[in-house]
Amino acid sequence: MKRTVSATASAWIRSRDKLWSEWFEVLHTRPRHLRIAQAQKYIEHYRALASDLSTARRLMPRSATTAALESVYAAAHAAIDRSSRQTRSGWRALFRLKMPAAMSALRPTVLWIALLFVLSAGAGLWLITQYPDLIGLIASNAMIDKVEHGQLWTEGLFNVVPSSLASVQILSNNIAVSLAAFCAGVFFGLGAFYIIALNGLMLGALFAFTHQHGLDGELLKFVLAHGPVEISVMCIAAAAGTALGESLIRPDAATRRESFQRAAARLGPVLVACALLLVVCGFIEGFISPNPGISLPVRAAVGWGYWLLMLVFLRGGLSRATLDTPPGAKT
């Protein structure tokens, strides 16, 4: 019986000579470079490969031939089962459909997180007003020293480095903080709460401290142009993190892992939007905020104007306006 199986296997393998040589040629071609007819041929080869693997598993389960077929089948499968390239339509769907949908679902959480931020800022303001010595827990000695000498720590910051380079540094730092607020949400949302509460507390405390030295107006002037969007984006990222935590507390799929994965995929576009908004914020913080020549009303107009633009963008309004236009049409 064993000999019969072996002879059958031998005969079967010999009969595959031409086909397997063809595979060797076809499977070495990069799938992205195939023309339609070649891609169809590739699929046919994949089907034949599956059939051969099935036969090999039956005839010689633990053989090197079966292992080689498994390996080739896995490679062919990976070549076929891949997502399409992120084309223009992919980006359009991301900004027009996925991001607004995720933001819409996230709106109540964003409002709760914003409330937490405001309450924390209030707490920080009250704390430093009542106990001024506690500022040492929040600000560095260099910052305290500078404010006590009547200067904001932001002054002279951009004298050495060009604004463009400083902007890149600021925006990468802000993006990292927002990503951290998102990721920290894995701890059932508590990590996101912590980051928001800490940032709110620090902002309130710094305003109280600068107020004690008559510099609160200067600080407001500095943050006005970039602050509204920067703080809003941080709240949005933390809300996304909270939603991630909620997916673990109240799974909406068969398993918590699946629910977590779905939530991460759903919230991904929100993070992309946050990163884009922070890029512009970084440039505002690098070019406009430290420039003493720009007046308060202009800063307020930039800050709140950009904030309104952010609202339109997050609702998918901007992409609708730009992407609905057919190519070649006059706007």
């Binding site: 072996s6 002879a7 296997a9 031998s10 393998i13 010999r14 009969s15 595959r16 000579d17 397997w20 040589s21 595979w23 060797f24 070495h28 994949y46 089907r47 599956a50 059939s51 693997l53 099935s54 010689m60 053989s63 090197a64 031939t65 292992a67 080689a68 077929l69 498994e70 390996s71 080739v72 089948y73 896995a74 490679a75 499968h77 990976a78 070549a79 076929i80 089962d81 891949r82 997502s83 910051l157 050495v160 480095v161 380079l165 400083a166 890149v168 540094q169 990468s172 990292a176 951290a180 998102f182 990721c183 920290a184 894995v186 892992r257 994965q261 991460a264 995929a265 991904g268 993070l271």
Partner: protein, 240 residues
């Protein structure tokens, strides 16, 4: 990991454990640290040459902005960029023989790779990837949190290639051996040096007796280690 293939024939992908994962990571870590340090060294030399090292202090000095921050970016973007460009592989993963696939066995897309890498912030906490490693050890599919979020799995890449498969039918036709014997023969010759003389000779005699039943036990036991090796080699065509 068993996945339903697109044709209905199941696909088997062996999952990489924490050891292989750590091995790949350590290689990649060395590469990215070296790249970042190389960048720092180049900028330092340029600044030293132009006598600019003393200009400014802290994280916003020209050296920090042009030297340190790009080096940090190289370090941080190494994984996402290479995983995207190399379809789920990095030089470290390639050396360790692993690759990244989706739960359906396909190549992960941009969103999955970015999500996976964003969660490095969490997996690397509090130090030495403790969270990620713990998660790998606990989960059945050896996943770190980033993999769970992105729906990716790290699998072992088997060495068997399409090339071996393509030449197999011709090899069987030339040698007249059955596939099982050919497997044993290849494996024995491959491991010849790593086996003790006593064991490899015993295995070679058993195999030769199976290939050629006419060979008597006395004739086989008269063959020395080198003769046995030659006999086994002669069963395969010269080019094999």
């Amino acid at each position: 990991m068993h996945i339903a293939g697109l044709t209905g024939v199941e696909l088997t992908l062996p999952i990489a454990g924490p050891g292989t994962r750590s091995y790949a990571f350590i290689i990649d870590w060395h590469i990215r640290v070296l790249l970042a340090l190389a960048w720092l060294a180049v900028v330092w030399l340029l600044f030293a040459g132009m006598d600019l090292l003393g200009v400014g202090r802290g994280w916003r000095s020209p050296f920090a902005v042009l030297g340190v921050w790009p080096a940090v970016l190289i370090y941080m973007l190494y994984h996402p960029l290479l995983e995207l460009l190399m379809h789920g592989r990095t030089p470290g993963k390639r050396t360790a023989g692993v690759r990244l696939v989706t739960r359906s066995g396909g190549v992960p897309g941009t969103a999955a790779i970015l999500t996976r890498n964003i969660f490095r912030l969490l997996d690397s906490m509090p130090f030495l990837y403790l969270v990620g490693l713990s998660s790998c050890m606990i989960s059945a599919q050896r996943l770190r949190i980033g993999d769970m979020a992105a729906g990716t799995v790290l699998v072992l890449e088997t060495a068997a290639s399409a090339h071996n498969l393509a030449r197999l039918p011709a090899l069987l036709a030339q040698t007249g051996l059955d596939p099982g014997v050919l497997d044993l023969l290849n494996e024995l010759l491959e491991r010849w040096r790593s086996l003790s003389v006593e064991h490899r000779d015993a295995l070679a005699r058993t195999l030769l007796a199976r290939v050629n039943p006419a060979l008597s036990a006395a004739a086989l036991s008269a063959l020395g280690d080198a003769d046995l090796y030659q006999r086994l080699r002669s069963l395969l065509p010269a080019a094999a």
